[in-house]
Subunit: 289 residues, 2 copies
């Protein structure tokens, strides 16, 4: 009944996407990496026509560090995502659409965020746009008989992460012998190594689990522990300056995924221990750019 | 400080829009009726460039009777609406955006629907798409310093309404001497004459009231009363066949607007009595097509 599986992956060249494509090939998919500018209204139709996908994994979005939370650049990505879904849904053989959202869709008023019980109340424009896109595409998929899932990604780290984010900024400072000036680090976050996140999204794509699924470890770690571990692993603990910069106003004390759906329904389990994950990230920061 | 007011109106040729444009002219606006296909990605930029609007009243959407509730045709209208907002927000002089939504955005579990307290839980794809569009554009407007309002329209009736809907279908049957076969008519709805709705949306556009505003009378009327009044006014009460067709499963018993924001903040009051509104609608059904 099921025939060959062909997946079109947007953002296939990115931090997550570059690791997911090989996993999907390993799972028996014919993988088509989306090329071209998805903001161009013509691109989606061409991609779907050429790839004839049974599955679509839509990772691409506006991600410029520092700007993506509140930039109006989020809006054309809503349009591009809806257009991409339309072209996919209208094509023969379309079976499953997996989109990627964020923990930023939730209200951050409780420490553990659950797909089933935590209110949706994004405080950023990025979170609003991701959530609105999910609402539209989930409802439309139900009506068109397309299996739909939405991975809500928490805090991903690992080699080749965009500079400016927490782990690479500390790793870069340590690699260059500069002080790593951070906040007090008391905030607890759900950090997941990019290889584990890639395995989670590949498994989600190859499943029939529907609706929102948190992509997180389910374990909270204080940022202080991340930063201190990096200093220790680099052999330069004296360069770590916790508390040198203030935490943003309203920064929530704890953001941790309820990972039960991912583990129990998708059948995923993490493989990368925090310390070895941070060690490999430090390695990549040390390598000549 | 405020300079001349220029409003770009989409859907200006429609049931509501054709009545709103003259009202906005009367309120001192230079009115630009949007022409061209808003689903064409080039149209919005041209319209904004030509009209240089300070205000935008966005009425256009997919409205094909019977299909609009669940049709995938709602999705390109999300894209078109976001694109239109982007072009408007990026233009010099943009001050206020007024979009048009629906009572279908609310959860229909309580009789009176309030902007402040009724949960948002649309059951139709149309309602999902309208609500998601509002979420995106309201959040983006706040960040760009654009005054934003969203009129949630309830049940509008009046001359030139699309055939197939309740009042014109009864009026047409009566005009042609055919039986008007309806449901039992026990359901209570908030009916507003199109001229009153047009005045409400024109006043909302010319105000600085922000966020969602119900466009309804605040008065519930049983459909039975509407239908019987039409039969009496036409002098053919014997043609009314209440209960001849079943009500749709799950049809809510009562959908009435809390109209306090519209009255108290926008300063609007209805002018058309139900009986005279229905009489003028009958007149238009009798007129040669």
């Amino acid at each position: 009944v099921a025939g060959p599986k062909r997946v079109l992956v947007t953002g296939a060249g990115g931090f997550l996407g570059s690791r997911i494509a090989p996993l999907l090939e390993g799972a028996g998919f014919g993988v088509h990496a989306a090329d071209g500018d998805l903001l161009d209204p013509e691109t989606a139709a061409r991609l779907v026509r050429d790839a004839r996908p049974t599955h679509l994994l839509h990772l691409a979005w506006y991600t410029e560090h520092g700007r993506f939370w509140e930039g109006a650049e989020n809006l054309p990505w809503v349009e591009a995502s809806v257009r991409l879904w339309r072209e996919f849904a209208a094509s023969e053989g379309a079976r499953r659409f997996v989109g990627v959202g964020s923990c930023a869709e939730y209200e951050w008023s409780q420490p553990v965020l659950s797909e089933a019980t935590t209110p949706i109340r994004p405080s950023s424009l990025y979170g609003v746009c991701k959530d609105a896109t999910r609402r539209i595409l989930e409802a439309a998929s139900q009506r068109e008989g397309i299996s739909f899932a939405w991975g809500r990604v928490f805090f991903i780290y690992g080699p080749d992460e965009a500079s400016g984010r927490l782990v690479p900024s500390v790793a870069d400072a340590l690699a260059e012998g500069r002080p790593a000036r951070t906040s007090d680090g008391e905030q607890v976050r759900d950090f997941l190594h990019v290889d584990d996140a890639a395995r989670a999204l590949a498994a989600l794509t190859d499943s029939d689990v529907r609706g929102p699924v948190n992509i997180g470890s389910g374990q909270g770690v204080a940022v202080r522990e991340i930063v201190e571990t990096l200093g220790r692993l680099a052999g330069r603990p004296e360069l770590i300056e916790l508390g040198a910069v203030p935490r943003p106003e309203g920064d929530p004390p704890e953001i941790v995924a309820d990972a039960a759906r991912l583990r129990d329904e998708v059948g995923w389990a993490p493989q990368v221990e925090l310390e070895s994950g941070l060690a490999s990230t430090l390695e990549s920061a040390r390598a000549p750019g």
